[in-house]
Amino acid sequence: MDAGLNQKTKNVRDIRSDLVFNIVLYSLAAIMLVIIIYPLYFIIIASFSDPSAVTNGRVWFWPGGFTLEGYQAVFEHERLWIGYRNTIVYTLMGTLIGLVINIPAAYVLSRKDLVFRKFLTFMFLFVMFFSGGLIPTYLTVRDFGLDNTWLVMVLPFSVSIYNVIVARTFFQTSLPADLWDAAQIDGCGNLRFFFTVAVPLSKAVIAVIALWTAVYHWNSYFNALIYLRDENLQPLQLILRNILITNQMQSGLGTGEAAALMMRRANLMRYSSIIISTVPIMCFYPFVQKHFNQGVMIGAIKG
């Protein structure tokens, strides 16, 4: 009797503390969502707005003075489309090469019976924390004649230690060791086992690493800045820098009607070029998102 009553008051208290907990939890989450979404939403509506409406602070929730001028200006910007084409090529080639290089390496390093495993693992991990530095690397690339070629964007730096570690841990934890033993008895070699058993069983981790590599190449800026001088090879991000940052610092230098028109153009393009360059990669990621929690991420930590 007494115990039952105690239980009851306790339940009531539980429910009340649960309610408070939930209110705090979901309101914090809602505030965070607004902080993340609103600045991005602002760019979207600004890209459809008349620049003067944006400048006068009339754009808050809806586009002010709806116009597609910004997108028109972007479509007429020839160098942006050259950059777009280059980035698509670098992303496709870079992702393909990245997978071909990193996934087999990860599988090999996951094999416990590998002779020199310790040495090879150390060889991979060491470069994470020590490097020759910018100038020696630059000179090496130059000596191979790779600077100012499209190859430098996809080949020399395609080994990603982080991706190798993630994939290696995935192979270690989700590929049963007796699978290889059984295959071996059936006379299956290492190469055949890798391509017909290990790879098909590891689609989740391969999808995630493909996404990471693609995003890396799509957003890549540093290597192009260092190694590419030819304008026809420049990727999207370098062109975007001119539109978004360099022009911005120079705007306001000129005077007169022509300068005002130029500034209006430059302002318009800022918003639309961000949308045009960022939306493709963002459309791609939700398809891979479901794999993020499937034991793939844990690989990043157990390494």
Binding site: S17, D18, F21, L25, Y26, L28, A29, I36, P39, I43, V54, T55, G57, W60, P104, A105, V108, L109, R111, D113, V115, L120, F124, V127, M128, F129, F130, S131, G132, G133, L134, I135, P136, T137, L139, T140, F144, S158, V159, V164, N190, L191, F194, N219, I226, Q237, L240, R241, L244, I245, I274, S277, T278, M282, P286, Q289, F292, M297, I298, I301
Partner: protein, 310 residues
């Protein structure tokens, strides 16, 4: 002599039997040797007076060998770039560390499945924005004339300050825009760690009358500590490697007092001014400090929490 094969012979036989494995790892090993290990040999140019025509081997040794280091240590950029580098990374490390943990703890408690999924999808989105676009976004939001900050200041009838050109604002902008961009993404790894919590722990806690908040503090939080320790070591190993790209893109003559960091200095000297040996020396200094920090933090966390990289 004896029928028993010695260890060496056995190893050779193992390698022969697994030749396919070595073939699979060969491409990555070749790339590492050519583009990661070969440049390490190039570090000796930091002790030489490198000339293009002579190559690394042919160039004369610096006189004295520490000439370039001495020049760096006695230049006014030394104190400035070192301070800026340390301020940005420690500030970023300390301010950025707790948020992903809090988000993971919160997400783990959410019972509304749909809301949780939406929250995750949206909070991961900014991670996919490139550094160039991120800096572009900052300059749009913070532009005193147009932009969000201009709007807000105008509401109060005030003139917005030019934050992008302010040396005082630079570290805050740098660090908090980074947190804004990556906090959701960085929480994934903690979520994965929480997914591994044994459900019977929660059941036992429920029987003992623990509230949800208590479970969060006494079960979830301790579960995240090993992950947090490893991530802390890893980021300590990158203290001096803070992103060149963002600092470089955000740099203007107006804020260079706080935005000039060692990587941007190395770039300016080496690529822009072709002072190869001096640039390599500054870079080497950076790398060595980094390595020392990594080893130290690894040692400390191993002693205090039992977690370590090696």
């Amino acid at each position: 002599m004896s029928a028993k094969p010695d260890a060496f012979e056995r190893k050779l036989r193992m390698i022969g039997r697994n030749w396919g494995l070595y073939l699979l790892i060969l491409p990555s090993v070749i790339l590492l040797i050519l583009f990661a290990y070969k440049p390490m040999y190039g570090i000796i140019m930091a002790f030489k007076d490198y000339r293009n025509a002579l190559g690394i081997m042919g160039s004369p040794w610096a006189e004295p060998w520490y000439k370039h280091f001495e020049r760096f240590f006695s230049s006014f950029q030394f104190v400035n770039t070192l301070r800026n580098t340390l301020v940005l990374s420690f500030y970023g490390l300390l301010a950025g560390f707790p948020f992903p943990i809090l988000i993971a703890l919160g997400l783990n408690q959410m019972r509304a499945k749909k809301f949780k999924r939406t929250f995750q999808t949206i909070s991961y989105l900014p991670h996919f924005i490139s550094t160039v676009v991120m800096v572009g976004l900052l300059s749009i939001w913070l532009s005193p004339g147009s932009g969000l900050i201009g709007n807000i200041y105008r509401l109060f009838g005030a003139q917005a300050p030019n934050l992008m050109g302010s040396a005082g604002a630079f570290p805050h902008l740098y660090v908090w825009s980074d947190i804004w961009q990556h906090v959701g993404w960085n929480s994934i790894i903690y979520l994965a760690a929480l997914a591994g919590v044994d459900p019977s722990l929660y059941e036992a806690a429920t029987v003992d009358g623990a509230s949800r908040f208590q479970k969060l503090i006494y079960i979830d939080l301790p579960m995240l500590m090993p992950t947090a320790a490893i991530l802390l070591i890893l980021s300590a190993g990158n203290i001096m490697n803070i992103g060149f790209e963002k600092a470089y893109l955000m740099q203007t003559p107006l804020n260079s007092f706080t935005s000039a960091i060692i990587p941007t200095y190395v770039y300016e000297l080496g690529i822009r001014n072709a002072q190869y040996s001096y640039s390599a020396a500054v870079n080497l200094f950076n790398t060595v400090i980094n390595l020392i920090l990594l080893v130290t933090v690894n040692q400390v966390t191993r002693k205090t929490s039992g977690n370590s990289l090696w």
